[in-house]
Symmetry: C2
Subunit: 262 residues, 2 copies
């Protein structure tokens, strides 16, 4: 769905931003075709990655690089004191990677592909230079920085229960993907239970239990790593803090419980 034309060779065929599927949510969002082309000219190269490939590792020199995701999904993570990976971010098409390292010497985190993906590489110094005659570009970047900051801010709001965190996580993922398709109910998260657990700061056992419960409530349908959101309103209620159905149904009013088998 993301790959249209293109046989996207590795560093060749630098598909122009103007034709990119992510254009509307990426750096040139809202720009004219002409300006979009100027942005396109700043792409140093494009990289293809397969699941598990590292885009960048902790302690690697930054050299002013940063990336825009053309397609795919990525996770960024740091290691805590026990070496356990702490996932700090999931990012998909249109999102910018490395904005938190613009003025750093070396990366403080690692970023790897969760599935086969493509990214465009930029240079910050070069962008600064280009911005001298293209102020809208600097502004677009600042806007993205600000937005990302606001999003991170929102993550700091706490939850009473792990289930609420998970519901918020799902809602957010669905929202990020629904810029084109508002009724997108299929969520393909290329994440193991363990990876979800690392992100939500719970154990994999807890993730499994949460998923089972939500499935029992008919809010989601699960088949391995393929999720189907069956009851968006119910999900939002849990995300908003409506206490889940620990004991009494007290139901989210959505007892229709669509049984997605398989």
């Amino acid at each position: 769905m993301y790959e249209t034309s293109s046989s996207a060779s590795d560093a060749a065929s630098p598909l122009s931003c103007c034709e990119c599927n992510a254009r509307g949510v990426c750096l040139p969002a809202g720009m004219s075709d002409a300006d979009c082309a100027r942005v396109s000219g700043l792409v140093l190269q494009q990289h293809r990655l397969v699941r598990g490939d590292a885009l960048q590792g902790v302690n690697e020199p930054v050299h002013g690089r940063w990336y825009a995701i053309r397609s795919g999904q990525f996770k960024s993570f740091q290691a805590d004191q026990h070496g356990k990976p702490c996932i700090t971010r999931f990012a998909s098409a249109g999102e910018l990677l490395g904005l938190d390292s613009l003025d750093l010497d070396r990366y403080t985190d690692s970023t790897t592909a969760l599935c086969d993906s493509t990214v465009c590489e930029f240079s910050y110094p070069q962008l600064v230079e280009a911005a001298r005659h293209f102020p809208d570009l600097a502004r677009s970047l600042e806007c993205r920085l600000s937005k990302q900051l606001a999003q991170q801010q929102a993550l700091l709001v706490r939850c009473d229960y792990a289930e609420q965190k998970f519901a918020q996580f799902l809602s957010h993922q669905a929202w990020k993907r629904s810029y084109q398709d508002d009724h997108m109910l299929e969520l393909h998260l290329d994440l193991s239970r363990q990876e979800i657990a690392d992100y939500l700061d719970v154990t994999h056992a807890t993730v499994t239990r949460m998923i089972s419960r939500l499935q029992g409530l008919g809010i989601i349908g699960v088949r391995y790593r393929q999720l189907r959101l069956l009851d968006r309103p119910g999900l939002h209620q849990i995300a908003a803090g409506q206490h889940p159905a620990s004991k009494g149904g007290a139901g989210t009013a959505s007892d229709n419980a669509a049984h997605q088998p398989a």
Copy 2:
């Protein structure tokens, strides 16, 4: 210590950035006197606030404003689903407020002064305009945005115990203030136990218990809201995940309990 000359009247006497105590850690950090003066010219006005004053409230229109803290301390917070305040940030001299709202219409959080404070007000559209002929300014802002993003990122790394969170919080606060005085051990946090609790996402009872324990270990000295860091190495060890002294001493190796005065 922050107020030097100046009798800082309200919107008058816009003390120039060049003479501001926060110059080295604020927007004009690293700039020449001439450039610093240019930044100073962008200050729309200065505001004085007393403890409890709101700088900006949730849902208020933004109008492109943002602020630099000249002196004092602020907290930013949102309300969770039960109305409990979730503190997402503490900020002091030199830090910029409102960068997460640059492209928002209305604020999504509130910010209030924790003690008597002064801020400089800027306009983002005006800065964008100024940046056309002053690219270093845009760059400085981007740099600050990036740094703040990296800091927030770091906050997302989880802790096993509330005590570890608290130790990290203290270390971070000490670090933020030690740009001038590396041996600053007195920490005046204008925060109630409840406010600390809201930030760390624990209850005030837990905060009290943590403080008592750390005091018992000789790591901090406490007198109401005045904290004294007695054993920085010990504190860092706890912040780094060294399990605290729940039962056996198993000492953090800093049994010297460094009463390290100054």
